[in-house]
């Protein structure tokens, strides 16, 4: 087992895709995270998969996220990669505008991305282009909105006995 440092991953990615394609570099409890552009995501995952040393060949998880304040980058997708040989994890994030939430699919590389992308579509309305079967998975088919978006409050807005102020919220 070789020791791969996070700096090595950054260097490899920047060497392949250029310095301006990799930004938002941060570390959280030892896990490196980078942000990239939508057009780089599929080549980047292929590059990391086939890299002779890094070998990010396991997609642990893939999930959506919604930031209504960030104009033009409201919806995000987070890819949790894991290199089992080196025991290194990596998060890659991409952001897309809510008006045009189109992201290329990675089902060609990871079979497991199929349901994960369906789930992100179901809850956030992120459209994964090229996905073999992009339909809702956990919610009912005739639902006409994407419930995990922040504009849908969880509690009934018509109730007046739950005043946030009184509960310190």
């Amino acid at each position: 087992m070789e020791n791969v440092s996070n700096q090595q991953i950054i260097d490899a990615l920047q060497g392949q895709f250029g310095e301006e394609a990799i930004y938002g570099i941060a570390e959280s409890h030892g896990i490196l995270q980078v942000t990239t552009e939508v057009e780089h995501i599929v080549p980047m995952l292929h590059f990391l998969y086939q890299h002779p040393v890094l070998k990010f060949q396991f997609l642990t998880d893939l999930g959506g996220i919604h930031f209504p304040e960030a104009k033009g980058q409201e919806l995000g997708v987070i890819y949790h990669l894991h290199s089992l040989e080196n025991n290194v994890r990596l998060w890659i994030k991409i952001y897309v505008p809510i008006e045009k939430p189109e992201v290329p699919t990675v089902t060609g590389l990871f079979a497991t991305a199929n349901w994960m992308e369906r789930e992100a579509f179901d809850f956030y309305g992120i459209i994964f282009e090229g996905h073999p079967n992009l339909i809702r998975i956990l919610n009912v088919e005739d639902m006409d909105y994407h419930p995990m978006r922040k504009e849908y409050p969880l509690e009934d807005a018509t109730r007046d006995d739950k005043i946030d102020e009184l509960f310190g919220r």
Binding site: S28, H29, I31, Q33, Q57, F58, L59, T60, D61, G63, I65, I78, H80, L84, N87, R89, W91, F110, A111, T112, N114, W115, M116, F123, R136, I137, L138, N139, V140, P147, M148, L154, E155, F167, G168, R169
Partner: protein
Amino acid sequence: MSEVALVNNPNVGLDRTPKSGPYVNELTTLNLGPTHPATHGIFQNILTMDGETIVDAEQTVGYIHRAFEKIAERRPFYQITTLTDRMNYCSAPINNMGWHMTVEKLLGIEVPKRAQYIRVIMMELARLADHIICNSILAVDTGALTGFLYVYQWREFIYEIYEELCGARLTTNMGRFGGMERDLSPVAMEKIKKILAELPAALKEFESMVVRNRIFMDRTQNVGAISAERALNYGFTGPNLRAAGVDYDVRSLNPYSSYEDFDFEIPVGTKGDTYDRFLVREEEMWQSLRIIQQAMDNLPEGPYHADAPHYYLPAKQEVYRNMEALIYHFKIVMGEIDAPVGEVYHSVEGGNGELGFYLVSDGGRTPYRLKFRRPGYIYYQAFPEMIKGSTLSDAIVTMSSMNVIAGELDT
């Protein structure tokens, strides 16, 4: 009366000689589920059958979707514990403690050694309960009911140990941020010692009944096999991945809660078929017993929870006598304490594989986003690939050995 019934029965007097022609190539659609005793949960499989052979399969999930990730965005951290144990309800303490460890990572709470050891004991008991269910019901699905009865009483006994620690049996809500809500009581200690002494005999009895049983072997060997490459590509983790020959176990690769202190082995299979999955789970039970024995032998003295008054709910008698305890009790219960800004991922080895929690906190009282990585949801995708070309009875056995839990599928 019976004569009339016979006359009205359209099948009586029917010509049953086989016909030739296009009749042979007709495909049938078969709905396995949503409520079917063999699925052990609410999910549907739409099978396309050519006679007895499965040509194609498609799953429909979401029948018990309860929007946990959405609810979690509105709840203070400690209230989310009750959501986690409703995911994989066969090994609820692992889910609870995985969530607690995630939040402790975010808050930077150091958990004392004794609490970590108690957690290990409870998590391994939960793994035992989970594997007892999966393996004995697999045996039931192949027709061996007796073995199931031998080991199932021990699962009941494990639930009694849960009761000693947290008062609940199935959806446990066990532990707190920073440790356990109470120490191991003498009764709990005695019960754990009893299980260590007596479960091996029951397990051996079960194994001698099933493992080399000709019928069981014929029903499970080379059934529902998946290669290591396909399993990795499908995101398999846990016993199902190890049965395919990959020794990935979160407990040894990224040890948490002092797992590095214990000596245990990771069993792996070779073919990734139903028989291998069964054997891997059997061996994991023996290893779990080993871990519990070591934890009981070396159980450190000391406090059973961290000194984290902002997050650890004080004891009830303290709340009545002590001003600070009353304040913290109120603040915790009302969810008035803000968490720091941060982003963490923590994973534990659940009953079915890598159970991950991805938590984004914006500094508020609730998570901004919480994503559960449920192993069952991820590997159940591979089910059609694993059963194509096999018979219906093989599909049932394959599904049973994968240990698909509906609560975990649907959050």
